[in-house]
């Protein structure tokens, strides 16, 4: 029997974490029909010799709730191998909504997720009430698969109105919210999300509605998922504190549903917090409950010169120097007494974002040929090579090059060993792309391609098989995405074909593709050759095909409801 598509001779990394193998993949009717040595013909054949073939990646932490309404690909998700996205995180969704509450929800999105108000005003049509009706908007109109969590903020506004940002709910209101959560799950939500982040306000400075919920309300809503044995509970509590783990434990135990918490990452200023978090979550899993920490793969990198540098603004002498006229600054940077003051600034023990370590910042680009030997060296290594104190080596090199030397620094996510342990942990869910949010500040669509390029190929903290598992079946299992996340016969033909030798993410760049001519940052990839959704190619070497094979992924209560009907 012939196939719609055969991918020939690729290295199949099937999402299970098991060793990869070379095989052909036959696709028929949107599903994987066969994997092995295939002799039959196909309407289309892709030669994947030398490339890896894996399940499409599942981006479980997006805020594409609005963008997917005007951009059927959630650009740039497919360029990074993503075939399924989950919307509705951090308590924020565009549904359920009743007339008059739209602006309350917009106010929260604009502030918390930094989506331009004009884009939301022009791009969101509000032609729905329930969560199921909202999902209906995407049927037949999307290029990637979409699913979503129902957000506590919208649910609260739906029942309490504008007072949702001012007070606790009454018992009767909690009951109404429970009914809406159930209705949303039956409409297809994959779970619910809530937000207790003390920094999350609306545009008008009022807390987002979910912050007014006490434990009684929140637990009562989560109980709906427990009672129906369906869905995940996604949370954001704000600053990472070890005390939060009592809450996660209680919630996971009470509901026996997967609880997701934010976040776990390596920060140089709190270099042991990630380990304390992993230690704190382990007893929850050992007791038989699930509380996955969300982690990111993208180091927070800054490139800087001493001509125009904000990295040290937290330190008074450094800050003042960086605002001086350049010639005066150069004299000051060369002065031994000033250098003593700069050292004293770093010795001040108050907490700062900058880590004050010399073994992290690196020389990225030099001006003079004779300094080429320093490129890629940390400032500690530079100091050793020059037989100098690190601060002197740093400043002297910059001065020799008229402050033109480019340095690299990462305050977060830069430590290989720590990131390796975090990314490999079974208690960690990889990926916090935040796609669709903070659109003028960052673009982390490439969390998957960065995992494969930076952490697998360059820093070798995990195998390709482990990484693909983290990007696919690990997520599908936790979110209950039936029939997705594995490259096995019978599973959806959501596939990614990439070159492990070159896969990676580009630096973000500006685009003008948002409604109301709003600018935003996008991110392209390299080495990611094909993205296939439900058996149809949507992305081919940087070009979108225009095909829209995406499906709405609805949760188990929707399927139950439909089966019963």
């Amino acid at each position: 029997m012939s196939y719609d598509l055969i991918i020939r001779g690729g290295r199949v990394v099937d999402g299970s974490g098991l060793p990869s193998y070379v095989a052909d993949v036959g696709v028929r009717n949107g599903k994987i029909a066969e994997v092995g040595r295939l002799t039959e013909s196909a309407a289309r054949t892709i030669d994947a010799a030398g490339l890896a073939v894996s399940p499409g990646f599942i981006d479980h932490h997006t805020h594409l709730d609005a963008q997917m309404l005007w951009d059927p690909y959630g650009t740039c998700e497919p360029q990074h191998g993503i075939t399924t996205v989950v919307m509705g995180n951090c308590g924020l969704t565009l549904a359920p909504i009743k007339k008059g509450d739209e602006d309350a929800v917009v106010k929260s999105f604009v502030r918390v997720e930094a989506i331009p108000r004009h884009a939301l005003e022009q791009g969101v049509t509000w032609n729905w009430h329930s969560y199921g009706e909202y999902l209906d908007n995407f049927e037949g109109k999307v290029g990637i698969n979409v699913g979503g969590l129902v957000g506590h903020i919208a649910v609260r506004h739906n029942v309490i109105g504008e007072e949702a940002v001012e007070r606790k709910a009454t018992s009767a209101e909690v009951q109404k919210m429970r009914a809406i959560i159930l209705e949303s799950m039956q409409g297809g939500a994959l779970g619910m999300s809530t937000n207790r982040n003390e920094r999350h306000m609306r545009e008008d400075g009022k807390p987002v509605a979910s912050r007014l919920a006490d434990d009684e309300e929140l637990f009562a809503l989560c109980d709906v998922l427990a009672e129906r044995n369906a869905g995940v509970i996604e949370t954001i509590l704000g600053r990472n504190k070890i005390e939060h783990f009592e809450f996660y434990h209680e919630l996971a135990k009470r509901t026996q549903r997967p609880v997701l918490w934010q976040s776990l990452q390596h920060r140089w200023v709190e270099p042991n917090l990630w380990r304390e978090q992993l230690n704190a979550v382990e007893p929850i899993f050992k007791a038989g409950y699930q509380a996955y920490g969300l982690s990111h793969t993208v180091p927070l990198v800054r490139h800087f010169t001493l001509q125009d540098c904000q990295v040290f603004d937290e330190f008074p002498t450094w800050k003042n120097l960086m605002f001086l006229p350049v010639e005066v600054r150069k004299q000051a940077l060369a002065d031994p007494d000033t250098r003593q003051k700069l050292r004293a600034d770093f010795a001040d023990p108050r907490p700062t974002n900058f880590h004050r370590r010399w073994d992290i910042p690196r020389v990225e680009k030099v001006v003079k040929g004779e300094n080429q030997k320093y490129v890629g060296k940390t400032l500690a290594e530079l100091a050793a090579l020059r037989n100098q104190d690190p601060l002197d080596a740093f400043l002297d090199l910059a001065l020799e090059e008229d402050l033109g030397t480019v340095f690299w620094n990462a305050n977060n996510g830069g430590d290989r060993d720590a990131m390796g342990e975090i990314l490999r942990s079974p208690y960690v869910l990889v990926g916090t792309s935040d796609a669709g949010a903070h659109v003028q500040f960052g673009a982390d669509f490439g969390y998957g391609t960065i995992l494969l390029g930076l952490w697998v190929r360059e820093r070798q903290v995990m195998s390709l098989e482990q990484a693909i598992h983290k990007l696919t079946f690990h997520v599908a299992s936790i979110f209950g995405l039936e029939g997705r996340g594995l490259l096995r016969p019978g599973y959806a033909a959501d596939l990614t074909i990439f070159d492990p030798k070159t896969v990676g993410a580009h630096e973000p760049e500006w685009a003008n593709d948002y409604p109301a001519a709003s600018k935003r940052l996008i991110q392209k990839s390299s080495g990611l050759h094909y993205t296939i959704v439900n058996g149809r190619v949507i992305h081919e070497d940087g070009r979108m095909t225009g095909d829209l094979p995406g499906q709405v992924i609805r949760g188990p209560l929707y399927r139950e409801q439909k089966a019963a009907a």
């Binding site: 604009v110 502030r111 930094a114 003390e198 920094r199 999350h200 306000m201 609306r202 545009e203 008008d204 400075g205 600053r239 001509q307 125009d308 904000q310 603004d313 937290e314 002498t317 800050k319 003042n320 120097l321 960086m322 605002f323 001086l324 006229p325 350049v326 005066v328 600054r329 000051a332 002065d335 007494d337 000033t338 003051k341 974002n353 903070h438 003028q440 500040f441």
Partner: protein, 107 residues
Amino acid sequence: MGISYIPVARAGELSPGAMKEIDLGGRQALLAYVDGKYFAFSRHCPHEEADLKTAGQLLNGTTIRCNNHSYCYDLNSGECSLPKGAAPLTVLPAEERGEEICIRLEW
């Protein structure tokens, strides 16, 4: 070690509530005149780098709000007052010296 006074405006140049772009050693900053005092601060909001020249709104007292996401900063200390605890705005001391408004930089 030393002190520099960098002149950035003439006394009386700014009307109450006005802001002026200033360049300090190649870095972009703003000078504001509020309640009879001058304040200098980085031109870009530390939250998501919005340009405070266009997105910044001076409120009563010594607060600037970035209208991009309504983050508020105290112009004396740079502290983020809303939401509390977020990254501070970089502020610089501004003072009148005769006919000039100067930024005082000590190192």
